[in-house]
Symmetry: C3
């Protein structure tokens, strides 16, 4: 067994990481820059969610912003134009080598097999709406947050794989309206409300509510059941019959595991549950059943 | 022409079947066991929906629970653990031979080409939310019903092909929240409300409202038009153009049929409609256009 | 460069076309026939949206009905039965040669790469709900409009590729309910409300609200960004990773264009934006990335 990461020693800078029992708390730490995206922030987020995914101690992850920040995330910093988003190494190869850093973050969060919660305790624009909200399982938000996907008003396309996720999350009718108007909306706007699990009246209430919810889930959900459930919904088969075969296999595998036995016993005995199965030990070996695609550009010049 | 089934003579036990004109009523008949899933119930439901699908007399099917039952369906009976869900014959082959019985029920209901209505007149948990609600065309529900997808809190994955159906029915944002929280919600909760066509204030009001609705549809809808409409939405092409070719074919075929002629005449003459086309006589012979996959395990040991 | 179309000289009959700056206004012009579908209307709509797509001057398109009409669109005229919908030339080949004219209109609107808005200032039935609403990016509607997808009550299948679009726009739960009940609903009905971006209290308020919205978008959105955003949402990849590669390419291409530079500058200088990139000059040459399928029947008889 490999040594467990000591997060405080890993040199995170633009994200603060704290572990509370089985809950990992990540806090965006660029309050002075309105939590705008930086190369360091991208690197910190990808590294953190990769670790949360593999660290058996973690069951739930919460992302939030420093409460002193004027925004949850104000988007990319474009004060110097768009070239700052390009990777100099990729540019040597050509435009086709570009990989959007927002999308890299989305992928890391989306691939994290634990429960993920975004606690949106402030305004959110651009990548603050896309990478920092859409790949999460739950979104808690401040009722007065100003929210916008402003891309068509800046001359660019929505980034961070949001054109894939948003229509699936809330349907094309609402997604099209948000993307093509670029309007600033509030969480209770009919066009965006279904995106949010919980809408809180004050900024200060958002993180505590999300954290309480996180701890309750950490105590009462099975790590393997969560990972398989997330995979079944996002990597579903093309048709009902193949999904029947797939979820039958998942159910048969899991019902033979310790967590399912504990689930039935605790239910019968009407007592608190104690799940102990972990992803590194107890995930069936036929997972993943989908193709994991490598999105990195393959360097083709000497 | 084959003899029409006499439902009262077919030996249904855990489901009562009654035919009222063109409406088939199925009533879950395990009130003492809180309508928990049993092998007999699975067998009865699959047999009943297979017959409703083929019986030209039936236009609409309603499923409900005995009004004396404490729940619409309390899920699988796991008092003896999960092994009771496994089929001894399949176990001889191995885990891969397992087919979830909830999914078998879902498939039978989903494949029924008539209008299907679930009248959820009580609490519903687990398979009571999945197989007994998601494959239906309409869901009526009691406002105070307690509803839950508790799988991650029991250590297993959501069953009955629910991970395929729920995201398509109400979007991934709501589906993820329901599956991953495992929370008990009421029908008016924003996370589940779009699942329901009608929410009734009392338990007793649910079935009569659903039945009245069923009879109105039975009198005024075309059996062939219903079957083709269900197939076009659930077996849609991968892109707009191919669906254009597909629905053009459907429209051209149906507009040459008796029901469409009656539809135009009744509309012109402003009189009640009398549809007479049936699935066994009048469904175009190029249906189905999709691949019907056999999900049964092929026995591979002597 | 080819000559720009002079819309007033093109002989439109059942649609009136007016250009107001970068906004094209199309008005259904069959008030006496309740704006029912006609062969001329079909031809006019397809021609108009094809031109709007290619005409660089146009950024936003609004479709509405003459305010004196008793309905936005009352559907197909079936007073003479359904045969009037069939094309005599196609009939010589056989049923398989039929192409639904509603679907041809849907395709023309769906393929228009500009922002499209339906201003539904009256009742809408059948093709008035399908081709004349579903392929648009935004729908504005009169609060008291009577809306219906009555197909199963007429003996036919839903036309105009609506079985593809409606479930994607608002989810299968609502779409199934609308298609299979054939019920007449109002825009505030929970089963249809998410279809609408804006619900106005009077018929007269619908078009002015849509037009004001159209002009604001025409002034502040990038033509190339809009076209790419529409394509990314409707022609998305099959999985997150491939969409990451795709939107990365879109973002890299667009951030090198004039509109993105203007977007960053105007944001920095806090001044109104002036986008000048056009689809004919500035769309990346790797668009379209999807297969554009020819849906026309290939004549096979001498």
């Amino acid at each position: 067994m490999t040594a467990l990461p000591k997060y405080e020693e890993l040199g995170f800078k633009d994200v603060r990481v704290e572990i509370q029992g089985a809950v990992a708390i990540s806090t965006l730490n660029r309050a002075k820059q309105r939590n705008s995206f930086s190369a360091q922030l991208v690197q910190d987020l990808i590294r953190a969610f990769d670790l949360f995914d593999k660290d058996d101690r973690i069951r739930v992850v919460v992302l939030t912003a420093d409460p002193t920040a004027p925004a949850y995330c104000s988007g990319a910093d474009i004060s110097g134009g768009w070239g700052g988003l390009w990777d100099p190494e990729a540019e040597k190869e050509g435009e086709h080598a570009h990989r959007d850093s927002g999308g890299d973050v989305t992928m890391a969060i989306f691939r994290c097999r634990k429960i993920t919660i975004a606690a949106v305790n402030g305004h959110a624009v651009g990548v603050g709406m896309t990478a920092l909200q859409l790949p999460f399982d739950f979104r808690f938000v401040w009722e007065c947050a100003k929210l916008a996907f402003p891309f068509v008003r800046r001359g660019i396309a929505p980034e961070a794989i949001s054109t894939y996720l948003l229509p699936k999350l809330i349907g094309h009718s609402r997604a099209n309206a948000l993307f093509l108007s670029g309007a600033t909306v509030s969480p209770t706007s009919p066009s965006i409300q279904p995106l949010y699990h919980s809408i809180l009246p004050t900024r200060e209430a958002v993180f505590p509510a999300a954290l309480k919810f996180a701890h309750e889930l950490a105590e009462n959900t099975s790590q393997t059941a969560v990972a398989i459930t997330k995979a079944l919904t996002w990597h579903a088969a093309d048709n009902l019959e193949e999904q029947h075969i797939l979820d039958s296999r998942a159910i048969r595998s899991l019902t033979g595991n310790g967590d399912a036995a504990e689930g039935a016993r605790a239910f019968r005995e009407k007592r608190p549950i104690r799940f102990t199965d972990t992803l590194s030990k107890d995930l069936p070996n036929w997972v993943p059943w989908w193709r994991e695609i490598d999105t990195r550009h393959r360097k083709a010049k000497l």
